[in-house]
């Protein structure tokens, strides 16, 4: 059943979601929120892939989405472990505390 939704609409949605994700990353200072926003961006990308896949009736879009999923999973797990460590060391989740890597 081919839905009558036009591709730009979906692309537009993905774009907006992506922008929201970026805004989230930039605005928030708490690392967790930044991680969340990254998740949003990942989903937006996934949406775009799937939309393109369905547009050309190719499975590639969905395969890419699956890869994105696996990547997201791995990334979140490592990210959260790091967050735990940071919390233990710095007792706060403020991103500006982590300034040691200065040039």
């Amino acid at each position: 059943m081919n839905a009558p939704i036009s591709i730009e609409m979906v692309m537009l949605l993905a774009g907006i979601l992506f922008i929201l994700g970026i805004a989230g990353v930039i605005i928030r200072k708490n690392i967790i929120f930044m991680l969340l926003s990254v998740e949003i961006m990942l989903n937006a990308a996934g949406l775009a892939f799937v939309a393109a896949g369905s547009r050309w009736a190719q499975p590639d879009g969905q395969v890419m989405f699956i890869f994105i999923l696996t990547m997201a999973a791995a990334e979140v797990s490592v990210g959260l472990a790091l967050i735990l460590r940071i919390y233990h060391q710095h007792k706060s989740l403020d991103i500006d505390k982590l300034k040691e890597m200065k040039g």
């Binding site: 970026i22 990353v25 930039i26 991103i95 200065k102």
Partner: protein, 629 residues
């Protein structure tokens, strides 16, 4: 006899090498033997060769001996050849004869000095290079002698090197003469490219055919050679070094700065007379320079208090006479005046040296006096010398040589009344400052006691020179005293006769005028500095006269002008640019890279938010580019 020619310069060269290398180990006696002996040997040899030259003049009027080919590139192959003709014979005679006498004199004069060997080594080297200069057959060899002489004058002026002012005077002398030498070097290039060779006889032969009279190239070549001559003979604009050169020992001043080196310019112009004849303008310039220098130096000599500086300025003015004679085309008169001047000026310098040493190094004439009866020999020889310098008529030799120049200043083809008047005024001033010198040093009451009496070795040369200063003049009598012109007949083999204006007579009248002027000068100096010294005090009070006195005393301000014009700017530029502006350029590049590094490191500030914002800005930029395209 020409195969012996190379021995004349060889003796002093051997003397120099022996003294330079083994000087430290030889005893004073042996140093004196080698030093004075080598020059006397070459003097004797010169007599022998001179005698055989005069008795049987060789074919072509010259001896020449080629030692080896110095250099051979493309068409430029100067050889080391010694060339003796009448002109160089006179010069070689003067150099070796007076050189020998001065060496004998300095054996005693320098006895107390610790650097005995170095003194004689440099003196011998000087005599060698002067002989080379005079005997050279090509201009490159002449240039070698020319620079060698400059080097030795540098070494000998700065002989007492502890005192930095001597070092300064020596460097000043070398650099100013070097100015003239570079001009002469450029002259050599011009001549080489015109004639394809530097051998003097060929040049003199080719010149009239290659250049037409008054050609621009002839003028340029003559001017450049003249510049070389001016540098070495301390003529106007380049004469400031000679008065300072008196820092050297007196025998040095006698040999180098009176008899031989300073007349190298005269020799050069006389030797290359064909080129000067081809450009009358330059000949006029030579006469002009001669006249101007004799006046300027004369007036400056009048105001000096140091006895050696008076003699130095008088040397400049006498050489001015020689240049005047050369400018007028009176070649033989110039060379005759050169010979006579060498005799009495060397005598005056040596006597002055004796006086200075007697009064243990007192140079100021106003502190001397009353030496008439204390140092009788010195007094009489000094008197003869100054008589000859002042050109006392008939008895002194100076009269015959200077009178000729005065006569030719009026009568010769290029002569003119102004030049004659200037020469006459010069004669008057010469008489004045000579008597002033005599009166101040020998008459009046003794101001400093005589510490040390000159030995026999110093007085004999003085007497011999005094003899020549009196009787050397008789070999060339003026025309109206009977046709007895031995000297000019000899020189006319090489130098052309002087052309007189048509219908000129009354030489006697001019001689009488010159006589009157000389006696006037003597009387004036006698009055001012002996009879009524209070006149001087009166004159001293008037301010303008005093400023004139200071102006003359400083050698007409040339030194200050050169200091401001040339020395100060170069020293200023050098010191400012000490560490090399161009180096700054490269240091600039390095500092620029360091700043760039610092700028970039600022962007790695470590805060994640800054990186993400950077990401977003990057994205925006890319998209906007995408939009624009």
């Amino acid at each position: 006899m020409d195969y012996l020619l190379w021995l004349i310069p060889a003796f002093p060269l051997v003397g120099f090498i022996v003294l330079a290398l083994l000087g430290k180990h030889l005893s004073r006696f042996w140093i004196a033997i080698i030093g004075a002996g080598s020059v006397s040997l070459s003097a004797i040899l010169t007599f022998v060769i001179g005698f055989s030259f005069l008795s049987s003049t060789p074919t072509g009027g010259h001896y020449s001996q080629t030692l080896w080919t110095w250099l051979e590139v493309a068409a430029f192959n100067p050889k080391i050849t010694l060339y003796l003709d009448a002109l160089s014979l006179v010069f070689v005679f003067v150099i070796t004869f007076i050189g020998a006498l001065i060496h004998i004199y300095s054996v005693a004069f320098m006895a107390a000095d610790k650097d005995y060997a170095r003194f004689f080594a440099c003196m011998n080297l000087f005599v060698f290079s002067m002989l080379l200069l005079v005997l050279a057959d090509n201009l490159l060899l002449l240039y070698l002698g020319w620079e060698g002489v400059g080097l030795c004058s540098y070494l000998l002026i700065g002989f007492w090197y502890e005192n930095p002012t001597n070092g300064y005077a020596a460097r000043k002398a070398f650099i100013i003469t070097r100015l003239g030498d570079t001009a002469m070097a450029i002259g050599l290039f011009v001549i080489f490219y015109q004639f394809g060779t530097l051998v003097i006889p060929d040049i003199l032969a080719l010149a009239p055919s290659t250049w037409h009279e008054g050609a621009t190239i002839a003028t340029v070549a003559a001017l450049l050679l003249l510049a070389g001559g001016i540098g070495k003979s301390a003529q106007l604009p380049l004469q400031t070094w000679l008065p300072d050169a008196m820092a050297g020992p007196s025998p040095v001043s006698a040999l180098i700065h009176a008899a031989t080196m300073v007349t190298a310019g005269v020799y050069l112009i006389a030797r290359m007379h064909v080129i000067f004849q081809l450009s009358p303008i330059v000949q006029m310039i030579v006469a002009g320079i001669g006249a101007a220098t004799l006046l300027i130096a004369g007036f400056s000599a009048l105001t000096q208090y140091d006895i050696k500086r008076v003699l130095a300025y008088s040397t400049i003015s006498q050489i001015g006479y020689m240049f005047l004679a050369l400018g007028l085309g009176a070649w033989t008169a110039a060379i005759f005046h050169f010979m006579i001047h060498a005799f009495f000026k060397a005598l005056l310098f040596l006597a002055a040296g004796a006086v200075i040493e007697a009064l243990n190094h007192e140079h100021n004439m106003f502190k001397m006096g009353g030496l008439k009866n204390k140092l009788p020999v010195i007094f009489w020889t000094f008197l003869i010398g100054s008589a000859s310098l002042a050109a006392l008529p008939i008895i002194s030799a100076g009269f015959y040589s200077k009178d000729q120049i005065l006569w030719y200043a009026w009568a010769s083809e290029h002569g003119s009344p102004i030049l004659w008047l200037i020469a006459l005024l010069g004669a008057f001033i010469t008489a004045a400052y000579t008597t002033r010198m005599m009166v101040l040093t020998f008459w009046g009451d003794a101001k400093t006691s005589v510490g040390h009496y000159p030995g026999k070795l110093m007085t004999i040369p003085l007497i011999v020179l005094a003899f020549f200063s009196l009787f050397a003049g008789f070999i060339e009598l003026p025309h109206n005293f009977g046709q007895f012109t031995l000297f000019s007949n000899l020189l006319h083999q090489v130098l052309p006769e002087t052309v007189l204006k048509a219908g000129i007579h009354g030489e006697l009248l001019f001689q009488l005028l010159a006589l009157l002027v000389t006696f006037g000068g003597i009387y004036l100096a006698y009055i001012f500095w002996y009879k009524q010294p209070q006149r001087i005090e009166k004159l001293k009070r008037s301010a303008p006269l005093m400023s004139l006195y200071r102006f003359w005393f400083s050698g007409w301000g040339f030194d200050q002008v050169y200091q401001v014009l040339f020395v100060k700017p170069i020293v200023f530029i050098a010191n400012i640019n000490k560490n090399d502006v161009v180096d700054k350029l490269y240091q600039g590049i390095t500092t620029a890279t360091v700043h760039l590094y610092r700028l970039l490191s600022f962007t790695q500030s470590g805060s994640l938010r800054w990186y993400i914002i950077g990401l977003v800005i990057g994205a925006i930029l890319i998209l906007s580019i995408q939009l624009m395209l």
